[in-house]
């Protein structure tokens, strides 16, 4: 049985406080939650601790400066920060600016839709559960892929893996996002 989420996660609450009120305490809470995870995540790609900390510093500064771009109806805080971290990592390691798509802006002054935010969080929770049920070697491949260590060909060659659950979770999230994005046009 799925348990229906009724409260928005504290990470999202912190991020909205940073975005809307420039709340420093909330920013500190985000730092305490994400900085050690980001450092661990980045070090898994072979970066030294010092280099990883430099990237974490840049990422958290971007979180503060670009907070206006965060849209809880489409992404988890962790997803938004994940993408910032990957972009920064590539900028640093490859010394090239990563091409990004045109932004889809929220309607100015639109009220947050709690049910949509909860739906995204619910989806992410299910995705996490699916991830934790993977065998260690399957999980390692997924991690490698999202840490940028597999080429598209290598990712595509992994189709033999029983990744059905993950794929169906991505698809479900996709349906919801597609619906949400349609409303923005």
């Amino acid at each position: 049985m799925l348990q229906k989420k009724t409260e928005i996660s504290e990470q999202t609450v912190w991020m909205l406080a940073v975005r809307d009120n420039r709340d420093r305490d909330a920013f500190c809470a985000l730092f305490d939650h994400f900085a050690p995870r980001l450092k661990g995540f980045i070090m898994r790609t072979g970066c030294s601790a010092a280099q990883a900390e430099e990237i974490v510093q840049d990422v958290m500064l971007t979180v503060w400066r670009k907070a206006a771009m965060f849209d809880p109806h489409r992404a988890q805080v962790s997803a938004w920060i994940y993408q910032i971290a990957r972009n920064r990592h590539i900028d640093v390691v490859r010394k090239e600016n990563r091409p990004v798509p045109d932004e889809l802006a929220e309607d100015p002054g639109s009220e947050p839709d709690a049910s949509q935010i909860l739906a995204i969080e619910q989806e992410a929770g299910e995705l996490k559960k699916a991830l934790s049920s993977l065998k260690p070697e399957q999980r390692e491949i997924i991690e490698k892929a999202y840490l940028g260590e597999l080429t598209h060909q290598e990712i595509s060659d992994q189709t033999g893996l029983p990744l059905g659950t993950i794929k169906s979770r991505i698809r479900l999230g996709l349906e919801r996002l597609r619906h949400e994005l349609k409303g923005m046009r």
Binding site: R24, V77, Q83, R86, V100, E103, H152, S156, R185
Partner: protein, 211 residues
């Protein structure tokens, strides 16, 4: 927009999300996503996947002074970087590669023009202008070739491609993309090795001279 029928496979989107996709292809993927809601939703689903992994990562303690250093920087003045946005038919990644300037077209023969956005030994990405009814001159490419339609449309042996459609061809595909009648076709093309037009060779002989 709703007419987009050729999309980006999941493995390529995942590689783009994680940053392992080479730069020239990433320009094409980011441009397609700018035009295509379906692939944008897919991309955001991949980002949520990355976020779930980040959240589940083992924590490694950061240096004690880091938070204070960071807080001290929050109010520092920021020099704004140029922010590029879509201009006419060109999505942001193309405008960014052009640094906000107009394309600088150069003829490659038979009325076809190109404007190279970037070219390295790893690969290249360029705009192509193909007059209505004209076939793209024979071109050698190794590996994957991505072609995104920005204006008009083209057809080849595999199908019909309109604005926003992306064709992803491997090197085995011997195709002759031809602009449809009506409007000139403008495409964004990303290839692995530098693209070489064999403009001086008669088309009939080209199969014998393909590299």
């Amino acid at each position: 927009m709703s007419a987009i029928t050729h999309h980006i496979p999941d493995a390529i989107l995942a590689a783009y999300t994680s940053g392992s996709l080479p730069h020239h292809y990433a320009v094409a993927v980011a441009s397609h996503v700018s035009l295509c809601l379906q692939c944008r939703a897919s991309l955001e689903a991949h980002q949520n996947m990355g976020g779930a992994l980040l959240d589940a990562t083992d924590r490694v303690a950061v240096s004690g002074h880091m938070k204070a250093d960071l807080l001290a920087q929050l109010d520092a003045p920021v020099t704004p970087e140029p922010v590029y946005t879509r201009q006419g038919i060109y999505p942001r990644p193309v405008v960014e590669a052009l640094k906000g300037q107009d394309p600088r077209w150069k003829s490659v023969g038979m009325g076809v023009r190109q404007s190279i956005l970037s070219e390295t030994k790893e690969g290249s990405v360029r705009l192509l202008y193909i007059p209505p009814g004209q076939a793209v001159p024979d071109h050698g490419h190794n590996g994957m070739e991505m072609t995104l339609v920005l204006q008009g449309s083209f057809s080849d042996e595999t199908g019909h491609f309109g604005v926003g459609d992306i064709e992803i061809a491997n090197e085995d595909l011997d195709h002759t993309p031809t602009a449809d009648p009506g409007e000139a076709c403008i495409c964004l093309a990303a290839t692995d090795a530098p693209l070489r037009f064999n403009a001086l060779m008669p088309r009939l002989l080209q199969p014998f001279f393909r590299i």
